[in-house]
């Protein structure tokens, strides 16, 4: 900082956050030897108290959610109730509704549950042939493009009920499925036991889901971070990326979520074993597959 008193340091010092550290001694020395620091230190406690009073005053003003926002929220939740989540089951559960709770629990540990009802594509190479439709708002109209067995399915209403159901024809040996969950993942999310048993679109951090259309103007833009669009729109580049990931860790990319990781655009890639069981999650950045960048890995964790 360029001014005389480092306000942040002084605030930390005054709050006792530097106690027992060398920085505390440094600040004490500055206060003892420099008039500007001494004046600031002397004034800060009273000033802080005044600020607290002002902030508490704001808090005393009750704010109710406006009726139009309530109505909009209710409508969105009604739509969520009317459009239950789709489930993409890998492994033994592929293509079938899970029959009972025990079997469902077992399979949920083996499944990436993709709520992106409108955003599931199957692509070639590793399956990569076409991604562009994802960004034109036509993903829900796009079926498998390279002989892959997965399908894109419009809506979930036909499935009926709230119980997640297996998406037909989702097979383990097929190409990866791409989703645009709008999620912002964190390491603790991905390393958590529940990561693979819950829908990415409803998951660890808030974000819009492609399975909802609530009339918001920014949903399409928010779904795919712009730095990933070039990679996603170039099948060769995506194929190179996934090959780098597979070469580095083994396994086969099963699901790729074009999302964010710790606020940065990233591909969240689930690797599965030959039986279709998830074995590892790899987070790759936008440079994945580019010459010299390898898989641009930002984070990885095995799936227990």
């Amino acid at each position: 900082v360029t001014f005389g008193v480092d306000l942040d340091r002084l605030a930390d010092y005054t709050a006792g956050l530097l106690d027992g550290t060398p920085q505390a001694d440094e600040v004490a020395e500055l206060i003892a030897t420099r008039s500007d620091w001494a004046h600031a230190y002397a004034a800060l406690a009273d000033a802080e108290r005044a600020v607290r009073v002002d902030l508490a005053g704001l808090g005393s003003q009750q704010i109710a959610m406006p009726p139009d926002v309530v109505a909009r929220l209710d409508a969105a939740l009604d739509e969520a109730r009317a459009r239950p989540q789709l489930t993409v089951i890998s492994g033994e559960g592929a293509g079938r509704r899970t029959p009972g709770s025990a079997a469902r629990a077992r399979r949920r540990r083996q499944a990436w549950v993709a709520a992106a009802a409108a955003g599931v594509l199957a692509l070639g190479g590793f399956g990569v042939t076409v991604l562009a439709d994802m960004f034109s708002g036509r993903a829900d109209e796009t079926a498998a493009t390279s002989g892959g067995p997965a399908v894109a399915q419009r809506g979930a209403d036909a499935l009926g009920g709230r119980e997640p159901a297996a998406q037909p024809e989702a097979a383990d040996s097929g190409p990866p499925r791409f989703t645009t969950s709008g999620m912002n993942y964190w390491p603790t999310d991905i390393a958590s036991e529940s990561f693979l048993s819950a829908p990415p679109a409803g998951g660890m951090a808030p974000g819009p889901s492609p399975s909802f259309s609530t009339g918001r103007k920014d949903v399409d833009e928010a779904q795919v971070p712009p730095p990933l669009r070039g990679l996603a729109a170039d099948p060769g580049a995506m194929d190179a990326c996934l090959r780098q990931v597979a070469a580095g860790y083994g396994g086969r990319p099963s699901v790729v979520d074009l999302a964010r990781f710790q606020n940065e655009p990233a591909l969240i890639i689930v690797l599965v074993d030959p039986a279709g069981r998830p074995v590892r999650v790899v987070v790759s950045g936008p440079a994945c597959g580019q010459p010299g960048s390898g898989a641009d890995v930002r984070f990885t964790t095995p799936v227990s």
Binding site: V1, L58, L77, P208
Partner: protein, 203 residues
């Protein structure tokens, strides 16, 4: 099993995950005003706040099955809403700034004719999103540092640091710490404030 309005938050969430179509709506009705206030004060923009709350509650609706009871339901809801707000701010990447003083003088009383609430809101809007969120939770809504840390997903020391630094900056902007610049006392000045420095890890 159907929940009713007298059920606890936890019971409502359990009922929702068990298939009760009305349970989540009741939970939302119970907490929406407070969630809205936090979002509005964190974002400072009505439309952004509406989007953030909607995103967050839809996310909570779908991920309720993963709530394991490690925290109160209301803490969990606040965490999702605050994260939605902070994500939105980071995407927006536009933060107005104000100048920091070159020198310090004795504190001055704020100008008597100013609209305190308006000035405070304006000054809050000029803090970093992280500092603002911490102050909204702790100083405006009265959460303890521990719960605020849980909501924000950071260490308690980080919350303390963000609050301390945020209050100090507000003190300058609101004129409680006056600078040598005669135009800045008692009003929120314009210009540029250095971005947050240091680690704020405060652990």
């Amino acid at each position: 099993v159907r929940a009713d309005a007298g059920d606890s938050d936890e019971a409502l969430l359990r009922a929702h995950t068990a298939g009760d179509p009305d349970a989540f709506g009741e939970l939302v009705r119970r907490h929406r005003d407070r969630l809205w206030a936090v979002a509005l004060r964190t974002l400072g923009d009505r439309e952004d706040a509406a989007d953030a709350v909607q995103d967050a509650l839809l996310s909570a609706y779908r991920s309720a099955g993963r709530f394991r009871g490690d925290s109160a339901v209301t803490t969990w809801l606040h965490r999702i809403v605050v994260n939605a707000c902070l994500d939105r701010v980071r995407r927006r990447q536009a933060r107005p700034t104000v100048p920091l003083p070159e020198t310090w003088n004795a504190p001055a009383a704020p100008a008597p004719d100013r609209d305190v609430a308006l000035d405070v809101r304006s000054a809050l809007a000029q803090l970093s999103a992280d500092q603002r969120a911490a102050l909204v939770l702790v100083d405006i809504h009265g959460y303890g540092v521990s719960e605020a840390a849980e909501i924000l997903g950071v260490a308690e020391g980080t919350v303390k640091s963000r609050c301390a630094r945020g209050r100090a900056r507000l003190a300058v902007m609101l004129g409680y710490l006056r600078t040598g610049n005669p135009t800045s006392g008692g009003r929120v000045p314009s210009g540029s404030l250095p971005t947050d420095s240091g680690t704020e890890d405060g652990s």
